[in-house]
C-alpha cells in the first residue's frame, strides 16, 4: 500500500542569476513500512525534496499525496504530526539552553498527546525506547555525546507518533561504532513501530544495508530508481555507477564488486 506519492514535483528558485531548478519533474512512491533511500551529491536536490515532503518548502508545481490525500500548501496538524524529521547535525538539532526532556516533550505538548500529567512519563519512555536512561531528561545537550544527541533527536521525532520519518543523513556526523548502533536502532524502531522511512544519504555502503529501494538523484532529477539488490548488482545509469565507483571500501570482496560495477560490465 502506498503511503507517500510524489507526482511531477518541481521546485524552482528565483535567483539574481536566473531560475535554478532544484527539483525537476520528480515522481515516485513510497510503500507503507518501506525504507526508501534518496541518494545524491550536493546540488542533487535531495534536501529540497526532503523540505517539500516535510512541508517546510512549497512546491513550484506537482503534488505530494499522503495516505491517499493531496497535501495542501498549508499543512494541518494531522499531516504535520504524521511526517517527522531527524536531522544530520546532532550538535545544532538540540536547543543548548533547554534540557533533553523539554526538547522531547515539544511534540507531546503541541499535539496534546496524552494527559498533561503523564507527559513526563511519556518523555522518559521515549528516551528508553531509543536506548537512553530515563534520568537523561534532566540533562543539558552539552553533556551528551554525538550519538546520544542523535538518539534524542530520534526520540523527539517519534514522540509525535508519526507514520513517515524523513531522515536527513542521520549518521554521517557520527563515528563508525556509533553509526553502527544508531543504524541498528533505526532499523529496530521501523520494525517495531511500523514506520516508513525516507532515508537521505550520500553513503552508499549504508544504503546497501538499510534501504529496500534506492532513488538516485542528480542535478534535481531522478536518474535511477530500483530495488537495492538490483542497484547494487546491475546499476543502469552511468551516474549510479560512478557513485558506486567512488565508495571507499575496506575489504577485498567489496573492492572486487566495486570495480566490477564501476566498469559497468
Amino acid at each position: 500500500m502506498t503511503l507517500l506519492s510524489v507526482q511531477n514535483l518541481t521546485k524552482t528558485f528565483q535567483t539574481p542569476s536566473g531560475p535554478v531548478h532544484a527539483v525537476r519533474d520528480v515522481s515516485f512512491e513510497v510503500e507503507r513500512g518501506e525504507c526508501l533511500a534518496v541518494v545524491g551529491e550536493s546540488g542533487s536536490g535531495k534536501t529540497t525534496l526532503a523540505n517539500m515532503i516535510l512541508g517546510i518548502l512549497g512546491a513550484t508545481s506537482g503534488e505530494i499525496r499522503f495516505d491517499g490525500a493531496t497535501l495542501p500548501a498549508k499543512r494541518g496538524p494531522v499531516h504535520r504530526r504524521a511526517i517527522q524529521f531527524v536531522q544530520q547535525n546532532p550538535l545544532s538539532a538540540l536547543n543548548p539552553k533547554r534540557n533533553i526532556g523539554a526538547s522531547v516533550r515539544l511534540g507531546l505538548d503541541t499535539y496534546a498527546i496524552g494527559p498533561r500529567a503523564d507527559r513526563w512519563l511519556k518523555v522518559e519512555e521515549a528516551l528508553e525506547e531509543v536506548g537512553l536512561p530515563r534520568e537523561m531528561r534532566q540533562r543539558a545537550p552539552s553533556s551528551l555525546s554525538g550519538g546520544q544527541r542523535q538518539r534524542v533527536g530520534i526520540a523527539r521525532a517519534l514522540a509525535c507518533e508519526p507514520e513517515l520519518v524523513v531522515l536527513d543523513e542521520p549518521t554521517s556526523a557520527l563515528d563508525v561504532l556509533v553509526q553502527a548502533r544508531v543504524l541498528r536502532l533505526l532499523n529496530d524502531l521501523r520494525a517495531r513501530k511500523k514506520l516508513t522511512y525516507v532515508f537521505i544519504t550520500h553513503d552508499l555502503a549504508v544504503v546497501r544495508n538499510v534501504a529496500d529501494r534506492v532513488a538516485v538523484f542528480k542535478a534535481g532529477q531522478l536518474v535511477e530508481l530500483g530495488r537495492t539488490e538490483q542497484i547494487f548488482s546491475a546499476p543502469e545509469h552511468p551516474y549510479t555507477r560512478s557513485l558506486i565507483g567512488a565508495v571507499p571500501v575496506v575489504d577485498d570482496a567489496e573492492l572486487e564488486l566495486r570495480n566490477k560495477l564501476a566498469e559497468g560490465t
Binding site: F85, L91, L94, N95, P96, L106, T110, Y111
Partner: protein, 277 residues
C-alpha cells in the same frame, strides 16, 4: 553559581568590577545609615561649615551651603542606580520583543520594525534625549522616559542579530517541523539563547545610563536641585574650580567608579555566560 564566581575571581579585572559594583550598590542601599549627615540630601544649609576642604568631619569636603559631599554622593548613587534600573527594566523587554519578532519572523515584520529601529539609532543619543526633555518638563521621571526612548533600539538591534542567526539552527527547524506555535519558538526556544548577551549588555549599560543621566543633569535637564545628583554636583562645583576642587573631583570620581565597575563586571559576565556552552 560557584563556577561563575570562580571564573570572575580568576580575572583580576572582573573581580575589581564585581567589588566596585557591590560597594556602590551597598552604599546606595544603606545610604541613610552610612551617610554621616543623612539630612544633607535635601535643601538644608549649614553655613558654619560652608565650602570647607576635605577634613576629619567632612571627608570629601562640603559645598557652598555647607552640605557634606560624601553624604550627597551616597544619596546620588541611589538616584543614579534607581534610574538605571528603571530605564533598563523598561527598555530591555521592549527592545527584546521587537528584535526577537523581527529576527525570527523576517519578511515584512523585519523590514518595518528594523527600519523604525534604524530611525532611532540614526539620531545621536544625547540629542534625542535633549529633544525629548525639551518637549517635556525636566524632572526625574521625564529624564527616565528620555533615556528609555533612546535605549531600547540598541536591545532590538542586539537581539535581532542573535535571533537571525539562531533562526538557522537545527533546533528551530525541528520545532517548526513538529509544528510548535510561533510564540513558543520565539520566546521559549530562541529567547533563552539571547539571554546571556542581553544580561551582559544590561550590566555594561548600567554604567552608560549613569553617564547619560549625569550628562543630562549636568546640562540642567535631569534631576533638579535640591535632590543630589552626580551630574548636577559636577556642574555646580565646576564654577568654583580650581579653588574648591573637591566639589567637582569627588562626584566626578563617583561617576568614574560606577562606569568602570559596571564595565569590568560586564566583561567578566561575558566570560562566564559565553563559556556556558
Amino acid at each position: 553559581m560557584t563556577r561563575a564566581l570562580r571564573i570572575i575571581a580568576a580575572n583580576p579585572l572582573s573581580l575589581t568590577g564585581l567589588i566596585l559594583v557591590l560597594a556602590i550598590v551597598l552604599a546606595a542601599l544603606f545610604a541613610p545609615w552610612i551617610a554621616p549627615f543623612p539630612t544633607h540630601n535635601s535643601a538644608v544649609v549649614d553655613f558654619a561649615y560652608a565650602n570647607s576642604a576635605p577634613n576629619g568631619r567632612n571627608w570629601m569636603g562640603t559645598d557652598l551651603v555647607g552640605r557634606d559631599i560624601f553624604s550627597r554622593i551616597l544619596y546620588a548613587y541611589r538616584i543614579s542606580l534607581g534610574l538605571g534600573i528603571v530605564v533598563l527594566i523598561i527598555a530591555t523587554p521592549i527592545g527584546t520583543i521587537v528584535g526577537l519578532l523581527a529576527g525570527y519572523l523576517g519578511g515584512w515584520t523585519e523590514s518595518v520594525l528594523m527600519r523604525l529601529v534604524d530611525v532611532f539609532l540614526s539620531i545621536p543619543p544625547l540629542v534625542l534625549a535633549i529633544a525629548v526633555l525639551g518637549v517635556l518638563e525636566p524632572t526625574l521621571t521625564n529624564a527616565m522616559i528620555a533615556v528609555t526612548v533612546m535605549w531600547w533600539p540598541w536591545y532590538a538591534r542586539l537581539v535581532y542579530s542573535i535571533a537571525r542567526s539562531e533562526r538557522e539552527e537545527g533546533y528551530v527547524l525541528a520545532a517548526e517541523v513538529i509544528g510548535a506555535p510561533t510564540t513558543h519558538i520565539a520566546f521559549r526556544e530562541i529567547l533563552p539563547n539571547c539571554l546571556p548577551a542581553i544580561i551582559t549588555k544590561m550590566t555594561l549599560d548600567m554604567g552608560f545610563v549613569i553617564i547619560i543621566a549625569s550628562s543630562l543633569s549636568f546640562l540642567g535637564l535631569g534631576v533638579q536641585p535640591p535632590t543630589p545628583d552626580l551630574g548636577s554636583m559636577v556642574a555646580e562645583g565646576a564654577r568654583y574650580l580650581p579653588d574648591s576642587w573637591w566639589m567637582t573631583v569627588f562626584p566626578g570620581l563617583a561617576i568614574l567608579f560606577a562606569v568602570f565597575g559596571f564595565n569590568l563586571l560586564g566583561d567578566g559576565l561575558r566570560d562566564v555566560l559565553g563559556a556556558d556552552e
